[in-house]
């Protein structure tokens, strides 16, 4: 009887049906130089759920999102969106980039930014009709920014800018929403408004994946979590994942356990 000294169990069964996942990453590695920013990450994001990507600075959270979106070309591995290649499925993805990634002095108004979310329909030369305009306004209303439609974007506060970005993603009317630090540097009212919109989307069956940096709110806001520190640490329902043990493994010494104190979380 042959005894295998080391049993190698494949994490992903070969016959796994990727089509059930709005977004699935397999063996994804991205490198900016000789050091991988993310290394061989497997992740399957569950439909109709809100998943947070959590990890310390430099863990590769944004990189993972950008690679999933095809903004960065991965060194190896592949991405499927609803079981198909990303290029065929782009119209099913909406994206909210980091607020700081654009120049807010750009000459454009709030409504024009939201209309950019309709590019897939409008195309190169399509006229912006009343109906497009109305839909963009409806998206602004959902994030409480309807009064700001004709403002130049440079006049907005950080929270308002973030809401405009969310409205633009809503205009894309996608099945999968990818958000990069949507709560970074926004006021409390905006945070509440954004989370309400995201929960509405989830309740309507859409899938949300967001890079999140606040451990105190992750359990309250999200259904699932992916712990990432270059490598995938763990993924699952948020109450099983956001545990002192797993967080310690993700953050190493960078985390003070006081932040996980439930009394403080409640306050």
């Amino acid at each position: 009887m042959a005894v295998t000294p080391l049993s190698v169990v494949p994490v992903v069964p070969a016959s796994e049906d990727l089509a059930v996942y709005p977004l699935a990453l397999r063996g994804l590695t991205v490198s900016y130089g000789q050091k991988p920013a993310i290394f061989s990450v497997d992740a399957s994001f569950v439909p109709g759920q809100m998943t947070a990507i959590i990890g310390p600075n430099g863990a590769g959270k944004s990189t993972l999102l950008k690679a999933a979106l095809g903004i960065i070309t991965p060194l190896s591995g592949h991405v499927t969106v609803f079981g198909k290649a990303l290029v065929d499925q782009r119209q099913r993805i909406a994206y909210v980039p980091q607020r700081a990634s654009v120049d807010w002095d750009f000459p454009t108004r709030v409504i024009d930014v939201v209309l950019m979310g309709l590019y897939r329909e409008l195309g190169l030369l399509g006229r912006i009709r009343r109906s497009h305009h109305d839909r963009a306004m409806a998206c602004l209303t959902r994030v409480g920014m309807q009064d700001f439609a004709t403002r130049q974007i440079g006049q907005l506060s950080g929270g308002q800018q973030q809401r405009v970005f969310l409205a633009r993603a809503l205009a894309q009317n996608a099945d999968l929403y990818l958000l990069d630090e949507p709560f970074a540097g926004v006021d409390a009212a905006t945070e509440k408004a954004i989370i309400a919109v995201l929960k509405d989307l989830r309740d309507a069956g859409r899938t949300i994946v967001a890079v999140h940096h606040d451990l105190a709110t992750v359990a309250e806001y999200f259904d699932r979590a992916l712990l990432l520190n270059v490598r995938r640490i763990a993924e699952g329902p948020v109450d099983q994942i956001v545990t002192p043990d797993l967080l310690e493994r993700t953050y190493g010494g960078q985390l003070t356990m006081a932040r996980m104190d439930p009394a403080q979380t409640a306050s």
């Binding site: 120049d103 454009t108 108004r109 950019m116 590019y119 506060s157 929270g159 009212a189």
Partner: protein, 393 residues
């Protein structure tokens, strides 16, 4: 008067006007994409192409002065320079400004060397080649004007057709990519259009100054509007007017060079915009700052009066005195007392509003210095006052 300028001057004015429009509109997208200096690299990289095209024509037995062929040569090496910049900045660790510096100087240096060689070529009449450095309109032919008009019109039409994806890429390339815009291709198209305008503009403005015509009009136009398409249209208008006026001016005196005059006229438009533009202009900003400063001082002065605190700042006292709110000795007038009480009550109302998330939008939108009755309805104020009195019975 215009007819008095003569046939050549008319041709140049029409050509310069069309070139200015095309350069202003195309340049807008270059400016929005923050790639102005890539335009400069493209322009300088035309020179070796001009030299090579000339040598090729001479070698084939021509006289080497066919403008169309020279421009094709210019376009070829400019495209090569553009690809070099693109390759260096994406495939190596060198940054884009390094790539621009390297490509600009190497290509230009090679071009100057070729021009020196050409001066020693026995056959071929080399007169006029160095005119493409700074533009040379004296001997412009009808065919040259047609070439410029057609090239400029094509670049203009393509810029307008691609304006939507070009604007999206300039604002947020990542999002544009997700929305189905091919970012690399749109970037190359933007640069291709800039290249086309550059090549077409060689005869009038020359390769050293063309970048000014691409960049100055959009920068000037940006002062007047917050809308990308309006920036483009206004930049086209400014470019066109600069071209016509500059060419007209240079025709009035025998030795004024056309290209530099056009650039100076465009610069005048920039200067006027910089100073005079409402909102973004220097003067407007200065007045806005002064007005705000006065409001803050007046407000602080009134609050100090209301709380019975002394006012030390002379500027504040002078403002209050000028408004008739305090007397020369610093004591509040009757009106001053009233205004101070109003300010105190306003401050208390603002405090209530700041504490209430329901007023978030309003509080975020305003500076907290305006009297509240200009912002809220009487009912809302009454409601706040109830809370105010409830808090301090």
């Amino acid at each position: 008067m215009v007819l008095g300028l003569g046939y050549n001057a008319m041709l140049v004015m029409v050509g310069a006007g069309l070139l200015g429009i095309a350069a202003g509109v195309t340049g807008t997208f270059l400016f929005l994409r923050k790639r102005a200096l890539v335009g400069d690299a493209i322009a300088h990289a035309t020179l070796p192409g001009i030299g090579l095209a000339f040598l090729l024509m001479v070698a084939l037995g021509g006289d080497g002065r066919n403008l169309a062929v020279l421009l094709i040569g210019a376009a070829v090496t400019a495209a090569l320079g553009l690809l070099c910049v693109h390759w260096i900045s994406t495939k190596t660790r060198l940054s884009e400004d390094t790539a621009i510096g390297a490509v600009l100087s190497v290509f230009f240096g090679f071009g100057v060397m070729l021009l020196t060689v050409i001066q020693n070529v026995p056959s071929g009449r080399q007169a006029g080649l160095d005119g493409l450095l700074l533009g040379a309109t004296a001997g412009m032919l009808y065919a040259d004007a047609v070439l410029i008009a057609v090239g400029g019109a094509v670049a203009l039409a393509a810029s307008l057709a691609l304006s939507r994806p070009m604007t999206m890429v300039a604002f947020d390339a990542g999002f544009a990519g997700i929305s189905g815009v091919n970012v690399v291709r749109i970037d190359l198209a933007t640069m291709g259009l800039v290249l086309m305008v550059t090549v077409v503009g060689l005869k009038i403005v020359g390769l050293i100054l063309i970048v000014a015509l691409l960049i100055i009009p959009p920068v000037a136009a940006r002062f007047w509007t917050d809308h990308a398409m309006r920036v483009a249209i206004l930049a086209g208008t400014m470019g066109g007017v600069s071209g016509v006026v500059g060419a007209g001016l240079s025709a009035t005196a025998p030795d004024l060079p056309t290209g530099p005059i056009i650039v100076l006229v465009a610069f005048a438009a920039f200067l006027i915009s910089l100073i005079m533009a409402p909102d973004r202009g220097v003067l407007a900003a200065w007045f806005r700052h002064r007005r705000f400063e006065r409001r803050v001082h007046l407000r602080q002065g009134l609050l100090a009066l209301g709380q019975g605190q002394p006012i030390y700042e002379r500027f504040t006292l002078r403002l209050l005195q000028k408004a008739g709110l305090v007397r020369a000795d610093g004591v509040a007038t009757d009106r001053g007392v009233g205004a101070a009480l109003d300010a105190l009550r306003d401050e208390a109302r603002w405090a209530i509003m700041r504490a209430d998330p329901g007023f978030d939008t309003l509080v975020n939108r305003h500076d907290g210095l305006s009297p509240i009755d200009t912002l809220l309805t009487a009912d809302q104020i009454a409601e706040i006052d109830t809370r105010l009195n409830g808090a301090t019975p």
